[in-house]
Symmetry: C2
Subunit: 348 residues, 2 copies
């Protein structure tokens, strides 16, 4: 049973283990700086399917099966699936849940979905309900572009603040300490646990430009980081890295400035998955990566490796989501944003 700290943070009594993780990404992601870190790359945007939406669901299903395998679970071991994505009515998750046959709670946090799933999942394990579950999130460049912006075929010019939706899915297999066995795939590496969850509040400072999601989400990211540090009575120095989901270059700078205005200067420790995943100078990705899949594949590949390989002892992952829709923008609404945070810590 967890303990609440402050207004929004929960310290888990028996931190669940990240027993297995799997990341799968697209070709452009494969050509980026983290290309070699992903478990699997797909050869093209369709990957043998007839529509990009079916491909996205297949990415998620593959990630979930991969994470279960990495955890040395056999089929049927996963007791619960927490899954979400960006598509209308979260169809990637729904059809993936159909393929997997695992009891399923659908979640929606836009690009914060991976953090929401890790947080909720850790609480449901720590609370004693299940011993093994999978949290997952996905996005696909082509499905997101035509739903949120313009079909690629139109060739609409992208503003410099725009981000590039990542094609990819990540899945995390979480296990209670009671059933966790050090999986063979860790091979001498450290185990990683989820120790804290900070649930975000919606923050909306009035940004209306759907082409500049980083600026819309930065205040929510900063709010959650500052709240987390306050709730836990910790400082930036207690973390080897504070990693936001997909603020991109514009939002990353804005988040840094908002934190500095509150006297918190994270320096090199503040990272962003959207900044890390692409090389803007040669990949034409403008402000960086975005989408539910962005933070999912970065956190569960390279950053998890740094924890397991003892480069890091503890990191704060702050998934960030822009909770708008094309229709809410058309109706003149600004963009509500949220940040959910989880602490990942080397367990042994």
């Amino acid at each position: 049973m967890g303990k609440k700290r402050g207004k929004q943070t929960f310290a888990l009594a028996a931190p669940p283990y990240l027993a297995g993780a799997y990341t799968i990404a697209g070709t452009k992601e494969g050509e980026g700086p983290l290309g070699e870190c992903f478990d699997q790359l797909i050869p093209d945007a369709l990957w043998g399917e007839t529509t990009w939406e079916k491909t996205e669901s297949k990415l998620m299903t593959t990630a979930v099966r991969g994470a279960c395998q990495r955890a040395d679970w056999t089929e049927g071991d996963a007791e619960l699936l927490l899954a979400g994505d960006l598509l209308n009515q979260t169809i990637s998750a729904n059809f993936s849940a159909r393929a997997l046959g695992i009891p399923f709670f659908g979640i929606f946090g836009a690009c914060s979905t991976m953090a929401e799933g890790l947080g909720l999942g850790a609480m449901l394990i720590d609370g004693g309900y299940v011993d093994r579950l999978v949290a997952t999130a996905s996005s696909h460049h082509e499905t997101a572009e035509r739903q949120f912006r313009s079909p690629n075929e139109l060739g609409v010019q992208r503003p410099p603040e725009a981000q590039w939706t990542v094609t990819g899915a990540g899945a995390a297999a979480l296990a209670s300490p009671a059933v966790y066995h050090h999986p063979a795939s860790l091979a001498g590496r450290s185990a990683v646990t989820v120790t804290h969850v900070t649930v975000g509040k919606v923050v909306d400072l009035g940004v209306k430009d759907a082409g500049d999601m980083g600026s819309a989400m930065a205040p929510a990211a900063a709010h959650t980081i500052l709240t987390h540090l306050h709730d836990t009575e910790r400082t930036v120095g207690d973390y080897d890295a504070i990693v936001t989901g997909d603020l991109g270059h514009v939002g990353h700078a804005a988040c840094r400035a908002l934190m500095a205005a509150e006297g918190v200067v994270p320096g090199e420790r503040l990272l962003d998955c959207g900044v890390m995943i692409f090389d803007a100078s040669r990949q034409d990705t403008h402000a960086g990566g975005s989408g539910c899949g962005c933070s999912a594949v970065v956190i569960l590949s390279e950053l998890l490796r740094r924890l397991r390989d003892r480069c890091y002892r503890r990191l704060l992952f702050v998934g960030t989501g822009a909770l708008f829709s094309p229709m809410s923008s058309q109706q003149g609404e600004s963009i509500p944003a949220i940040g959910h945070a989880v602490v990942l810590e080397r367990g042994e």
Copy 2:
């Protein structure tokens, strides 16, 4: 800490109280058989807003504030909001969470959302994470029609199997036994608790007709009911009512037949919120009501009253969701469906 029963059911160790509930609905719902049961009716589809989407969000916000008041909570008491709806990117919930300022996890279960929220919420309270939270869901006839079917102005003829999306929102304030005080608004009535949660699996028997959602969802409802009875080693006789979310007349009959095929004959005890909310003979609602708001306003008004007034001792609420999107249907997919169940029981 809860105990798992069978594969999909959790028995809560310290069942949370349904400390307050509030329902708000549209004019057509007000003219139906349950019209007098709702806490509030709105005068027209827009209720002073400029778009139906803004109205739907206002319905949800009003329901949440009403449930908190009914629980005798002051502002800031609610520690967590679990909210979802049918709109793309669940904007009703997102904008409501912005207005309310409560830490927020977005959920998506299509029309099963109210049951998902009650289930997850009960587990997060029983798990010791929060003492007070609100679960809510909404739908709006006009927002759903133009998103899922055709704009009303087109006057497209509805098939006889079609259901009528309910305009309404319901919210439930859940409290841990540790903090529950019998609210004044109960005035001599019984308190009600959430004792069990059965998490659904996706069931898809291949129905593709988006105009006949009841047939698509009935197998998922029957599967969850039968699984729940198996997991808890209970029979239909242990419940005064088994209430599905929004199968409507067609799906209700199909669910009954599917249960009978497994030797379970619920008789009069099997009810459906979609059947109850409209009078098909005089309201031109064809197969009945649907939408996240349908089961939310029926369960949290008349059915909750029957528990509080000691007509019922225990009921099983099975929220049912069709997890498709217009795009998945256009791409030739069948309709995956899910049913999440919670047991509501008179506490004293």
